[in-house]
Amino acid sequence: MSLTTAFFAIIRRDLLLAFRRRAELANPLLFFVMVVTLFPLAVGAQPNLLQAMAPGVIWVAALLAALLSLDNLFRSDFEDGSLEQLLLSPHSLSILVLGKILAHWLVTGLPLLLVAPLLALFLGLPQAAMGTLWLTLILATPMLSLIGAIGVALTVGLRRGGMILSLLVLPLYIPVLIFASNAVDRAASGLPVTAQLNILLAMLILALVLVPLPTSAALKMSVN
């Protein structure tokens, strides 16, 4: 089996598994919607306030939803032993890991794109910012899966890794949060956002190249 076949086989397998467990598929999405709903209840429903907070609220919620879904990335494979098979395969582990991360993003990151405009509407985000919101979600949610993968790989061997996972991953998410919510914020006030989008793109490419290496090293550590 060539590396390309193996790569796509892994994506196919993970997608298939995800669709067999449809209930789990919806959980991060529901969580995303509910966190956003909490904000108007907590800070009051003044339209001005909500509109000003909308980019930040949506992005914080997206971040938390991604964090919640991260554990699925390697946990079940670790428990049923297929992760060991992955490590034993003759192909480069980094590439296979990248396939798993990509599948995870398709399952958890991509659906956020569908719900985000609805939530933006609830919070009164101007129409002009909608395109930018989509763009930042497309560019930045893969990064959430990528960076999170390092944290999951480090903690997958632990019985209760959830708290530590968030402690490890959240500080690393900060640059993504800053540029993504800032871009949406600026788009809402009609300012150019090219710089922010370029930086997000640069960070995405950097993460795509670098993340598989520590992730596969950490997986090897966790399985042994």
Partner: protein, 253 residues
């Protein structure tokens, strides 16, 4: 590795053996303590007594003699930890792992000191305990990174695996520190800048600079003392069943 002169590589090999390191640390500690006290005394005397009061900030600027060295150390130790992590991953050197683990709480301590002294200084100067200034924020995030390293090491039962995990995490963190730092800085300048912060720093006078550098050196030596003590403890804990620890106990008793 042929490009390293033999005496140096021999020194490294010997030092990286735990019993040898233990004895070496014991021999160094009294000297380092004396040096630390000397530097600390000179720095404090120069900073608190000899240096003139600042024309703008009065005597309250004197907190920089603790604050600035602590902030420098907080970054320095994290970078050092990443170097140790790389050494531990590439050459599987046990001592590097031990030094990495022992450094983490000390670095977190320095970061905490830098944050607390900063906010103590900020209250009379800026009129508030905390502002979301770029430097303050990135220092706070650095504290989170340290706490992540410490808690990850504590959570993994098998200490060999834990050391490896922490080495990877330290390397990931060090790649991220500049990204986080600059993004926080841009975040702050992209938003409207805070109006109270950043009184333009007047370039520092020699009578203030010399004590500051002395204090920075004192903090470095203090770090060495603390890390050697912690590393000694960690080594004994790890190698509790080995012969040299048993011999050590017998000579002590």
């Amino acid at each position: 590795m042929s490009w390293i002169p033999t005496p140096i590589s021999r020194f490294f090999h010997r030092t990286s053996s735990p019993p040898h390191f233990y004895a070496l640390a014991n021999r160094w500690l009294p000297w380092l303590t004396a040096l630390f006290l000397l530097l600390l005394g000179a720095g404090l005397y120069g900073g608190l007594y000899l240096a003139p009061a600042d024309y703008q900030q009065g005597d309250s600027y004197r907190i920089i003699y603790v604050h600035v060295p602590a902030a420098w150390m907080s970054l320095f130790i994290y970078v050092l930890m990443a170097v140790m992590g790389a050494i531990a991953l590439v050459w599987r050197m046990k001592l590097a792992e031990v030094m990495l683990i022992s450094s983490a709480p000390i670095g977190a301590g320095f970061t905490f000191i830098a944050l607390v002294t900063g906010s103590l200084w900020g209250k009379p100067m800026w009129g508030t305990w905390w502002v979301w200034d770029a430097r303050l924020t990135s220092e706070l995030i650095l504290l989170f990174l340290y706490l992540g390293v410490i808690s990850l090491y504590g959570a993994i039962e098998d200490k060999k695996a834990a050391a490896k995990a922490v080495s990877i995490l330290a390397l990931v963190g060090v790649v991220n520190i500049p990204i986080i730092h600059y993004s926080v800085e841009w975040w702050n300048t992209l938003h409207q800048g805070p109006t109270v912060t950043k009184i333009d720093k007047p370039s520092i006078h020699v009578s203030m600079l010399v004590p500051l550098l002395l204090m920075a050196l004192a903090f470095k030596v203090y770090y060495l003392i603390a890390v050697l003590q912690a590393a000694k403890l960690e080594l004994v804990r790890r190698e509790a069943s080995s012969q040299w620890v048993k011999n050590l106990l017998e000579t002590k008793l």
